[in-house]
């Protein structure tokens, strides 16, 4: 325990200032993101545990091969690549919005926030289409010697191993954990994107009303940006775990 007087202000950790030279709001946001990362981490690790404890898992190239208005064309992972591109592009516009905020350029912030919000909404729209397609799309499944037509839901998985039936290959029911984890985790991520869009919308309105100009800085945009980038980053992991592996 040191009792010698050290001149303050010269040392980052000696009190009277932020040791990271950032406001409390950003420190708080970083810790929140760490916390949220643990939530997603728990989900993804649970998914991995279950997935690798069963012998068969749905082949993503097979499950995710549809594209809107493309009929039955086999386009593996094309649509999800588009979704990913949209989301990452919205991260780019977010960076630009933060950058315009540093320059105190209100018009620029407004423009890029709108683009970011549109990107988020486009992603959510894509996800809605993908979910609808999976839940309502019929797939032939051999159940107890009979052919049935199943969609992919939290209780049904038509993507099981294929067997020979009447001279043709037909799928059998797969592990139902697939639907639960897919809808559970992409849904939880989608909920994050949705709340991010709401936050960005509030930031856009506040920018429009000139709140940040009055305040003299656009730090709120930066904090919203941290959250938005985090949501994108999580998507990269979700993409990896559900579509690529």
């Amino acid at each position: 325990m040191s009792t010698t007087a050290i001149p303050t202000n010269t040392k980052w950790w000696n009190g009277g200032r932020s040791p990271f030279n950032i406001s409390y709001g950003k420190v708080m946001m970083w810790y929140f993101l760490m916390s949220d990362a643990f939530t997603f981490g728990a989900f993804l690790i649970s998914y991995g545990t279950i997935r690798f404890s069963v012998n068969h898992w749905a082949d993503p190239n097979h499950v995710f091969n549809a594209f809107p208005f493309a009929g039955h064309a086999n386009l593996p992972l094309a649509f999800v690549s588009l979704m990913t591109f949209i989301l990452i592009f919205s991260s780019v516009t977010m960076v630009l919005a933060v950058h315009e905020g540093h320059k105190m350029n209100r018009k620029g912030v407004e423009k890029y926030m709108i683009l970011t919000i549109l990107g988020g909404l486009a992603f959510l729209g894509c996800q809605a289409w993908e979910w609808t397609h999976m839940i309502t799309g019929d797939h032939a499944v051999l159940v107890n010697g009979q052919i049935e037509h199943w969609g992919t839901t939290v209780t049904r998985n038509p993507w099981g191993p294929e067997v020979m039936h009447n001279g043709a290959m037909v799928a059998t029911p797969g592990p139902i954990a697939f639907g639960g984890y897919f809808f559970g985790i992409t849904g939880f991520h989608g909920f994050h994107v949705f709340s991010g869009v709401i936050i960005n919308l509030v930031m856009y309105i506040k920018t429009k009303l000139g709140h940040f100009d009055q305040r003299g800085h656009y730090e709120m945009i930066e904090k919203a940006g941290l959250y938005w980038h985090f949501v994108d980053l999580v998507w990269v992991f979700v993409f990896l775990c559900f579509y690529l592996v």
């Binding site: 325990m1 303050t8 009277g16 030279n21 708080m28 643990f38 989900f43 139902i176 559970g184």
Partner: protein, 601 residues
């Protein structure tokens, strides 16, 4: 960017100051209900925690009646509980509900929210020299989310099928299937929703505690000059922020299993002859998710008690705490290890024995920092000029309980012994002593020590001494015999042991334990009376620093307003433990270092 950020930081301080000066017209609502003053929020947490503690404690007395007097009937129980105690005898279903809610309430609502919520809110700004929390708004929301969680949990006590009854650990499939038991119906859903609200509250609180400690320390308050209370509360908050989200994930998946037909935790289950369609899930997965929170949770409960006891022991020993940096380091080590030992709750789940041995090693490693802390407390007390204030007695009681309960942890941490001791009364005795009663002692120590700062009055000492002696003796009388019962294999969570000849020899002991638990509960009611009586009628504090303490909270006026210091925030020149230095009894942290002062201690 960095300059803008620094400016903004300065702005925050400025606006706080301005806020303070313009705060003359507070209404009842802004001052007592939707208050943003950290001291009022702390008191809200404390009073809500006390109410929960009375409910949770009363539950234990009721189920101890069943365990102690399994042959008797109590007609008044029927008046109180209706059909749950038809004929004056507790129904088995409700016995399980009582045990479950006793655990839930005391672990989460009292010893997490009531303990951290009270003392982190109260002490962090006061001891680091800040006008309030980093975000008073989120701090207020933290309390009100806790209030919402409390309301939902309280409502669940009154639903027709009863509150959750699958144990506080809510293991599936019992908790996942509404048909499994009456308590697995709507009561279980309310439990999960309430806990989700609770996790939001804990997150908002924890983020505030962390950022306040990092960003808002006054000039000169370097991290190594922080009182040990603040260090403990800091690591508590970090544990909470990083472990509760995992329980949230587990709870969300459980809600889906219950209500959306998913099979995260369910597989191959037959209920009443009917085969359920769920397959492929893993009930053990839930246990991993639960204990990844559940184990850090016991340190979330224990660390604030450790921190406060360190501070109170040093102040009342009139000696610096022995080994300040070792104390900080051991709290840090405990916080890290807390995340790495969760599977020691799962030795009998069929866990790979090799993996089990890794968890044994990591678990036993916790004994090292724990022992460092214990020896430092004892060496602080060694040859000290001890003042036996009620707060000090409870702090010493904490050390005693931590030693007694910690020793049995070494037994349980061994997977080979745990096979025999798992889910017996040995476990019940262990965790009640080491984290239940010990943390309560830390909490009582904190309340007795900081009550003068909270309310400007003292608690009544006579009642305090009665409270202490009845509680410490009673706690040992209740929990010490349980070790013998557990070694003999008596399992926990059983409704009635009278049917087993192997446990008949304990019927007298069970009766004795139940009898003592009633006396101890009555002593707690005495404390509650003392608390509310002294709040209004207690002896007034006349000295701003009644305990002769070094920390900054005692440099505020006796009844500090919103903003804590009427003038400038004091600057800090020294660590918090300059007691008995250079012939001076104590040197507060805001006293500049004199020219002739000796270096170090």
């Amino acid at each position: 960017m960095s300059s803008a950020a620094t400016l903004h930081h300065a702005d925050v301080h400025g606006s706080h100051d301005a806020h303070h000066e313009h705060h003359h017209h507070e209404t009842f609502i802004t001052k007592y209900v939707f208050s943003q003053d950290h001291k009022m929020i702390a008191k809200q947490f404390l009073v809500t925690g006390i109410i929960w503690a009375i409910i949770g404690g009363l539950f234990s007395v009721v189920f101890r009646l069943q365990l102690g007097y399994p042959e008797s009937t109590f007609p008044w129980l029927e008046d109180l509980l209706g059909h749950w105690a038809a004929g004056g005898k507790l129904k088995p279903e409700f016995y399980y509900a009582l045990v479950t809610m006793h655990g839930t309430i005391l672990v989460f609502f009292v010893l997490t929210a009531g303990l951290s919520g009270t003392f982190a809110n109260f002490l962090i700004p006061l001891q680091i020299g800040a006008r309030d929390m980093a975000s008073p708004m989120l701090n207020m929301l933290s309390y009100w989310f806790f209030f919402l969680a409390s309301t939902i949990m309280f409502c669940s006590l009154f639903v027709q099928t009863g509150p959750a009854s699958g144990g506080w650990t809510i293991y599936p499939p019992l908790s996942a299937l509404g048909d499994a038991s009456s308590g697995a119906k709507i009561g279980m859903d309310l439990w999960l929703v309430s806990m989700a609200m609770f996790i939001v509250s804990s997150l908002l609180g924890g983020l505030n505690y962390i950022t306040t400690i990092l960003n808002m320390r006054t000039k000169g308050m370097s991290m190594t000059r922080l009182p040990l209370t603040i260090w403990a509360l800091f690591f508590t908050a970090v544990l909470g922020v990083l472990s509760f989200p995992v329980l949230l994930s587990g709870a969300i998946l459980l809600l889906f299993d219950r209500n959306l037909g998913t099979s995260f935790y369910l597989s191959d289950i037959v209920i009443a002859g009917k085969i359920l369609p769920n397959e492929g899930g893993s009930a053990i997965l839930f246990q991993h998710l639960f204990w990844f929170l559940g184990h850090p949770e016991v340190y979330i409960i224990l660390l604030p008690a450790m921190g406060m006891s360190s501070e109170i022991i040093s102040v009342n020993s009139r000696k610096p705490i022995f080994g300040y940096m070792a104390m900080v380091g051991s709290v840090f080590a405990i916080a890290i290890l807390a995340f790495l030992v969760w599977a020691h709750h799962m030795f009998v789940t069929g866990l790979n024995p090799f993996l089990g041995s890794v968890f044994v090693l990591l678990t036993l490693l916790i004994a090292v920092p724990s022992a460092i802390k214990v020896f430092n407390w004892l060496t602080t007390l060694w040859r000290a000029n001890i003042r036996f204030t009620p707060g000090m007695l409870f702090a010493i009681g904490f050390v005693s309980l931590f030693i007694s309960g910690g020793l049995t942890g070494i037994f349980l941490g061994n997977s080979a012994l745990d096979l025999h001791l798992h889910d017996t009364y040995f476990v019940v005795a262990h965790f009640h002593i080491v984290m239940g009663v010990a943390s309560f002692f830390g909490m009582f120590a904190g309340v007795y020590h900081w009550f003068p700062k909270m309310f400007g009055r003292y608690l009544n000492n006579t009642m305090a001494y009665i409270h202490f002696w009845v509680t410490i003796v009673g706690a040992y009388l209740i929990f010490w015999p349980m070790h013998y019962q557990g070694l003999a294999g008596m399992p926990r969570r059983y409704y009635d042991f009278s049917g087993w000849s192997s446990f008949n020899m304990f019927s007298g002991l069970n009766e004795f334990i139940s009898f003592v638990s009633m006396i101890v509960f009555a002593a707690q009611l005495l404390f509650v009376f003392n608390f509310f009586y002294s709040m209004f009628k207690g002896r007034k504090v006349t000295d701003a620093n009644p305990w002769g303490s070094n920390t900054l909270e005692w440099t505020t006026p006796i009844n500090p307003g919103h903003g804590n210091w009427p003038g400038e925030i004091p600057e800090v020149y020294r660590g918090a433990y300059d007691y008995a230095k250079d012939g001076k009894e104590f040197i507060p942290q805001n006293v500049p270092v004199g020219d002739d002062e000796s270096k170090g201690h």
